[in-house]
Amino acid sequence: MTSGCPALGVGLLRLAILGTILLLWEALARSGLLFRDVVPSLAKIALALGHLGTDPDFYRNLRGTAAEVGVSLAIGGSIGVAAGLLLGGSRLLGKAFEPYIHYLGPTPKIIFFPVMIMWFGIGPGSKIAMGALSCFFPVALITAAGMRQIDEVLIRVGRSFRARPWQMATKIYFPAMRYPLLNGLRLGFGVAVIGVLLAETKMSNQGLGFMVMQSYSQFDMPGMYALLLVVFALAILVNATISRLGGLDSTQH
């Protein structure tokens, strides 16, 4: 993606892939092989997208979900970073706690949803709890790993110049960990979205997940696909923004 000519080639290829998928989709929609509207035509989806764009309900639900994701990322992310710093900084704590986090991390958090409903109710509280819980684990693990990756000599440089703990944190630890932290944030965001949306589809009264389930139960397939497209687009947008924050694409480091 760096030099001019191959970049153009890759770009064209990507467009071609997208075009092929859309074509196949449209062909399938028109073939009549599948039950009505299971695969709606592109025109219908576009129309549904247009409806969404003018639907005040959609914006209300979008705001609701965005707020839930934002709050769960803030809560789960900051607790995750704090826990990761503790685990990465202390060999004893790391050894004691990490197996739990490691094995709990990949378990589907949705099994805790009933508990969250009991604790936080059917409203945004339980969705935020799900998002925060999902986001905590990858952020904690990546932060701990990032902390251990810090070039040890840089810490000795800081100590030799008598940097105070706060200066060590802001001038050495955090900048040295910027890529793992950013990656953690990105991963954490991804799973927070999953946690929140999944919870919304299970039991809720608002949010994009709720709208998707509503469209589904009314067999409004174009509307459902339009919603999914919106969720995709938003997720990509936020991911790209987080990557930009680091100045560089974090996968390069």
Partner: protein
């Protein structure tokens, strides 16, 4: 031709002339591992006079870096003490500036901000900081590179940034642990010349740890030879070559004699170290 008296008995070895700035007295450092206790540094004593360059040379694993960390205050000695201008050191101290063997510039900071690091930590005002940074970058020959990032520089230039960063806060003693070890031969020679020039310009009291005999002879007023495990002072050799130490001097007969003399001291220790390394080979992780 041989200089100051020194022995394995651990007697204090006084600086040749002038008042000692740095006094290292009877330093002992042991490492306790599950299997054994290793005495890395065993009753090492010496002094370094104002403006003097003292090199410490010894085979790999003889305790040079351990001594470096103890003198710099990053590791605590089991016995002995370090005194700078009559003040007892405890922990890292602005009187001693360390330059590390490893690549140690901050990759996320520009060259200028790297050099400003210690000043920033000490809370110096920005205007004063900028002035100092400019001065020391010029001193190490990196004028005009302030806005570059370390990744854009060569290894030798990065090591000069590290040296400028340490010199910028004005330490009484410059303490360097094999600062040229990671560099190729030509860069090492050029950087050696540069350090020599800076040292003379600032009359900087310097303690240089190295494993290169030629480097030690070229740069130093005295060379301290360490024994291999436990690391003791084997001998201190006065290098009475005229300054400036130009290319002609390096090619001279006297220079060769000093190198040969130090090598004869070092050779036994180095082969001990090699045997030790070979003996440990099968169990190596």
């Amino acid at each position: 031709m041989t200089g100051g008296s020194a022995g394995e008995d651990g007697s204090t070895v006084e600086a040749a002339g002038g008042t000692p700035v740095l006094r290292v007295e009877n330093i002992v450092k042991r490492f306790v591992t599950d299997s054994a206790t290793v005495t890395a540094v065993d009753h090492v004593s010496f002094t370094v006079a104002q403006g003097e360059v003292l090199s410490i040379i010894g085979p790999s694993g003889c305790g040079k870096s351990t001594l470096f960390n103890v003198i710099g205050g990053l590791a605590e000695a089991d016995e002995g003490r370090v005194v700078v201008e009559g003040r007892l050191m405890s922990g890292p101290d602005p009187a001693i500036g360390m330059v590390f063997q490893e690549e140690s510039t901050f990759p996320w900071r520009t060259v200028g901000d790297n050099v400003a690091f210690a000043l920033e930590v000490a809370g110096m005002a920005r205007a004063e900081r900028t002035k100092r940074v400019r001065h020391y970058l010029e001193l190490v020959g990196l004028k005009g590179f302030e806005q570059h990032h370390p990744a854009q520089l060569s290894g030798g230039m990065r090591q000069r940034v590290a040296i400028a960063r340490t010199l910028a806060f004005g330490p009484k003693v410059l303490l360097m642990d094999e600062p040229f070890a990671a560099l190729d031969e030509q860069t090492r020679l050029l950087l050696g010349d540069k350090v020599l020039q800076i040292q003379q310009e600032l009359a900087q009291t310097t303690l240089l740890i190295t494993h290169s005999i030629a480097e030690a002879v070229q740069l130093s007023d005295r060379v301290l030879v360490m024994t291999y495990r436990p690391g003791r002072v084997k001998r201190i050799v006065d290098i009475k070559l005229p300054r400036p130490r130009t290319a002609e001097i390096i090619g001279s007969k006297d220079f060769g004699l000093y190198v040969a003399e130090i090598w004869s001291d070092l050779r036994g220790e180095a082969s001990l170290g090699m045997k030790d390394a070979e003996a440990h080979l099968p169990q190596a992780e």
